[in-house]
Amino acid sequence: MELVLSLAIGIMTASGIWLLLRPRTFQVIIGLSLISYAVNLFIFSMGRLRMNATPVLTSAGVGEPALYDDPLPQALVLTAIVIGFAMTALFLVVLLASRGLTGTDHVDGRERR
């Protein structure tokens, strides 16, 4: 499982970096989304993989850490998902505004000479 997930993270990162370096704004926004998936999975995997465990406490009272998945990376990733959404939204709007202003969808706001 670890190997599969690592490869998945690597492939998504590579696709993301490739798109990040492309000249069209739409490519960059897709690339950033792919990179954020990869990074979220990466942060999440820092809690180590565990199946059929849950961060939801099954009993009231003081929790026994050994029984549960590490909740901290999950909380971080949850935040990251929401902020990633905000970033995508803002980038999309900036992209559209720049396209409207300059008439091109090149990342520099003008076509390459």
Binding site: L3, M12, W18, A60, L78, A89, G100
Partner: protein, 972 residues
């Protein structure tokens, strides 16, 4: 009691400044009265504080600010600070009166003037009253900023702007030096408290960091006091309104430098380094300032150089390291403030009444304004050091101190001679100031007919000149006790016996004074004819003016070098920047791995589930496919991106993170809708051209990017695998697991972390979300589509043409036919999704769900309605006010956080309890739930705001469409 008065004294001018700024723009009288009242109140407070500081007492007031960093809001007043507080408020009051008449009644920005003036007064009081070094630097910089604003008050005037900028740059650089110096000092002493620093003189002088700390602090003091070689900003600051010069450049701002020197005198002085650095700077300023002053043609320019010279005198006295010299320095600070302020005001009166300050054009004004002339003569005589005036006494003390040899060196030997030369020059320029302006033939073709100023404009000058006289005749009776308080404030137990008598018998200093007086008169009459017609500045060296050098350096640094650096090191293109960023990240990531010798960990891996592997095979195909198709096939790239997102979501669910899976799924939907809405505004792209047709350079670029991408991917895989096969160190997570229920009152630990343990982070995050959605909204309000997107899309045209061709159909029918079944489902789902959102929200504390997920779910419910029936249909029936959702959400989160203050707990401490509801049973009722409600509302508002704003663009475009249709052909 005393402490409270100190704080009041400190706050008054700033509060006054804010209030004055709100006054009507032509209320010159009201503003002057108000500013005057503030100054009077400050003066009264200072006077009331005198008994507490008279005999070496210190008034302190300390408010904790950042105690962990040794940074407290400490105010401290001793005799010396008291003397300065009196000068700042007293002369401030006089200048306010003067400015009331000086500022034109047609000047509609007078509130700005008085507002800056009071703020400057506050900053200056801050410097003298600070009991903490860092606080002192803060006020120091504030004086710099407000002096910038005051010097540049007539910003229409290029010389005012330049002068202001130069003053700010020079004193600002000094201020940075001071900050670093003070940090070093704090490091040496171990505290930033002024009292502690002043008590650690020996430690400081013997510390290896003594020299750098001293030099840096001197950089601050010497730039502020316009000492050589930083003197050039002061003459350029003369383009300020004269009340500003009278206040800043005689009594306050430039005195801040010598104030600092005197303040740190007990800890720094007495070493050879101090003597040399301070002494050389002071002596050069003393002599050069006086020399330059003699050759000025502008009255204010003469006074400015004379100020440099007199401050040089004070600096020399402070360099000597003898307590008696320090007494003379403090005394001269007072005296210089009185006579120089009155002279500046007199110069302002002449400028105001004649229209010029050029001494070549002015002459014989005595017959027009005899009263002002007499006042100016007395003040000039004090500046020259004529007996029976206050300037004489401190100058005598100065001469006496230079004759005393403190350290055996050439500098000591030449000091008395240079002192006499400077005295002689100061007599000459003082005489010139009077003689060329008030005597001689009547002036010809002045811009205005000269006459006496209004009585109250003269009053401040009268008052100050009277002070010069009284102090000069009976010093011991008038300023004696106050000077003593100030001296004790600086010197403490080291205070030497001194006498303030006018007559000390026939002594060497008296002889020096006599030589200076006679020589000065002689020199003036020798140079008189030359000066009457000469150019501005001294002969020969007028061309190497300091300000030219300064400008040259500034241009070189901030323009030439900056442009060179940009040309060689920078690019305005995004791609190279991103490429560099990726490359640096790669190197920074692999270097430590390479050094540490990376290898996989020892943790046993979980056996691969074939289903999981297959899902990720799909995921990988989606990711790579999105990368390949993003250029020419945007829609399919977007769908593939969604595929990759779904696989990520499944992975979260698979690996025991239901919360993440839920949120990821919902966010995925919203993101896809968002980008879909944006697709319409992107340019049409031709079909995939032949890949072989691109040039070699482009191909090389692509291979390079591919190599970077692959390297990045491999690196991430490697890193992830290595981490996952190493045992985890869980400390924080275990803490959260243990106490989530007992302290947070919830079983869903992730949710408890978000809304309780790390609630403050979440608060920041939702604030960011709100800000982002508002920015997106604002950007879209100004959105204008590109020319090729203005028309309706191709498909819509076909549909509409079909509808229009048939009489039984209306435009848009085809579209609604297509969506008729889905739209019914979407309408029916509306209440279902709302219930789901409420459910997710309510169970969030104990089970997967929570404010974020619920918020996004509700946003999806709204957006589905838009999709189902179109923007107009929805908005006719449903009023969603996303801005209010955002506002209420943020407020409710903040208020919940603040609620804990009522119970004496820190911000966002949560309280949990279970409540019994009939029918439903026991439900958890943590205050964190209220916080989560805020999160929920804000997420709904922010998401809906962006989506609606984007959706509205399609309606707006039709408007633009019509607009274009009405334009003449060639414009369209």
């Amino acid at each position: 009691m005393g402490g409270g008065m100190l704080i009041l004294l400190m706050l008054l001018p700033f509060a006054g400044s804010v209030l004055v700024a709100l006054f009507r723009s032509n209320a010159r009288n009201v503003e002057a009265w108000f500013a005057g009242a503030v100054a009077v109140a400050g003066l009264i407070l200072a006077i009331l504080l005198y008994p507490s500081v008279a005999d070496g007492g210190v008034v302190r007031s300390e408010i904790q600010w950042l105690p962990a960093y040794g940074l407290n809001f400490t105010l401290r007043m001793d005799g010396f600070a008291w003397m300065f507080a009196m000068l700042v408020t007293g002369i401030g009051l006089l200048v306010v009166v003067y400015a009331r008449y000086y500022m034109s009644s047609e000047d509609y920005s007078v509130p700005r003037f008085f507002s800056f003036f009071l703020a400057f007064m506050g900053a200056m009081l801050g410097i003298v009253l600070s009991g903490n070094l860092i606080l002192l630097v803060v006020f120091w910089e504030l004086t710099g900023i407000f002096s910038f604003l005051l010097i540049g008050y007539w910003y229409q005037n290029a010389s005012a702007r330049d002068g202001a900028r130069m003053a700010l740059t020079v004193t600002g650089i000094g201020g940075l030096g001071l900050l670093v110096g003070v940090l070093l000092l704090g490091h040496i002493v171990g505290s930033y408290d002024l009292d502690k620093v002043l008590a650690s003189g020996n430690i400081i002088r013997l510390h290896p960091l003594y020299l750098p700390a001293m030099l840096l602090i001197l950089l601050g003091a010497l730039t502020k006091s316009a000492q050589f070689p930083f003197h050039f900003w002061l003459p350029n600051a003369m383009s300020a309104p004269t009340p500003v010069s009278a206040y800043l450049h005689s009594a306050t701002m430039v005195k801040a430098g010598v104030f600092l020197l005197a303040r740190f005198w007990p800890v720094f002085a007495g070493t050879e380094e101090w003597f040399w650095v301070v002494g050389v700077a002071g002596l050069s300023s003393l002599v050069l300032g006086a020399f330059f002053a003699l050759f000025q043609q502008d009255m204010k320019g003469l006074l400015a150089y004379s100020t440099i010279s007199h401050l040089g005198l004070i600096t020399v006295l402070l360099s000597l390291g003898s307590p008696l010299a320090a007494v003379a320095a403090i005394f001269h600070m007072m005296n210089h403030a009185t006579f120089k302020a009155s002279l500046f005001m007199a110069a302002g009166v002449i400028d105001h009444e004649t229209g010029t300050r050029d001494m070549r054009r002015l002459s014989g004004l005595f017959r027009y304004m005899p009263f002002t002339a007499t006042l100016a003569m007395v003040a000039s005589a004090a500046m020259a050091g004529v007996p029976l005036l206050n300037g004489f006494i401190s100058k005598e003390m100065f001469f006496a101190e230079t004759v005393e040899t403190h350290l055996k060196s050439t500098l000591d030997t030449v000091t008395p001679y240079l002192a006499v030369v400077a005295g002689l020059l100061s007599v000459a320029y003082s005489l010139r100031f009077i003689h060329s302006v008030f005597f001689g033939p009547p002036p010809r073709d002045l811009p205005r007919e000269p006459h006496e100023p209004p009585q109250w404009m003269r009053f401040p000058i009268e008052f100050l000149v009277l002070a010069c006289l009284v102090v000069g005749i009976v010093p011991g009776l008038t300023v004696g006790p106050y000077l003593h308080a100030a001296v004790v404030g600086v010197l403490g137990p080291e205070t030497p016996p001194y006498s303030l008598a006018v007559w000390h018998g026939f002594t060497v200093p008296l002889l020096m004074s006599a030589v200076a007086l006679a020589g000065g008169v002689l020199l003036y009459f020798m140079l008189r004819n030359y000066l009457a017609t000469s150019q501005e500045g001294p002969p020969y060296i007028r061309h190497i003016a300091g300000n030219r050098i300064f400008e040259r350096i500034l241009v070189t640094l901030s323009w030439r070098w900056a442009r060179l650096a940009e040309a060689f090191l920078g690019t305005r293109r995004l791609q190279p920047q991103l490429r560099l960023l990726v490359l640096i990240a790669l190197i920074a990531g692999s270097l430590p791995l390479y050094r540490a010798g990376a290898a996989a960990g020892i943790l046993p891996t979980i056996p691969v589930d074939p289903v999981f592997a297959f899902i990720w095979l799909l995921g990988a195909i989606c990711a790579v496919g999105a990368a390949v198709r993003a250029k020419f096939h945007r829609l399919s790239a977007l769908i593939l991106l969604g595929g990759a997102g779904l696989v990520t979501c499944i992975t979260f669910a698979w690996l025991s993170a239901p919360d993440l899976a839920l949120t990821q799924l919902l966010v995925e939907i919203v993101t896809t809708v968002l980008i879909l809405l944006g697709l319409r505004w992107l340019p049409k792209r031709r079909d995939d051209p032949d890949p072989m047709s691109v040039g070699t350079r482009a191909r090389i670029r692509r291979y390079r990017d591919l190599a970077l991408a692959v390297a990045g991917g491999v690196g991430m895989s490697f890193l992830a695998y290595m981490m996952m096969t190493r045992p985890a160190t869980r400390t924080l997570g275990d803490y959260f697991l243990r106490y989530a229920y007992t302290e947070g009152g919830g079983r869903n630990v992730v949710n408890v972390i978000l809304v309780d343990f790390r609630g403050f982070d979440t608060f920041g995050e939702i604030a960011v979300l709100g800000v982002v959605s508002l920015s997106a909204f604002a950007l879209l309000r100004r959105f204008r589509p590109a020319a090729d997107n203005v028309e309706q899309p191709h498909q819509q045209k076909i549909q509409d043409a079909y509808d229009e061709a048939r009489p039984d159909r209306q435009t848009g029918d085809t579209l609604s036919d297509y969506l008729s079944v889905p739209s019914v489902i979407m309408h029916w789902l509306f209440p279902v999704i709302i219930v789901l959102a409420v459910h997710l929200f309510l169970r969030g504390h104990d089970l997967p769900g929570g404010g974020f997920a619920a918020g996004v779910a509700l946003a999806i419910a709204f957006i589905l309605q838009y999709l189902a029936a179109g923007t107009r249909w929805v908005e006719d029936r449903l009023r969603i006010l996303p801005l209010r959702w955002i506002g209420v959400g943020l407020l409710s989160a903040a208020l919940t956080g603040m609620g804990s203050w009522l119970f004496g707990y820190p911000f966002l401490t949560s309280h949990s309890q279970y409540a019994d509801l009939p029918l439903i049973g026991k439900i958890p009722l943590a205050s964190a739930l209220l916080f989560d409600l805020g999160v929920f509302l804000l997420v709904v508002g922010a998401t809906v705001l962006v989506l609606i704003a984007l959706a509205h663009q399609s309606i707006r475009s039709h408007r633009t469409d019509r607009f274009v249709a009405t334009l003449p052909k060639e414009d369209a």
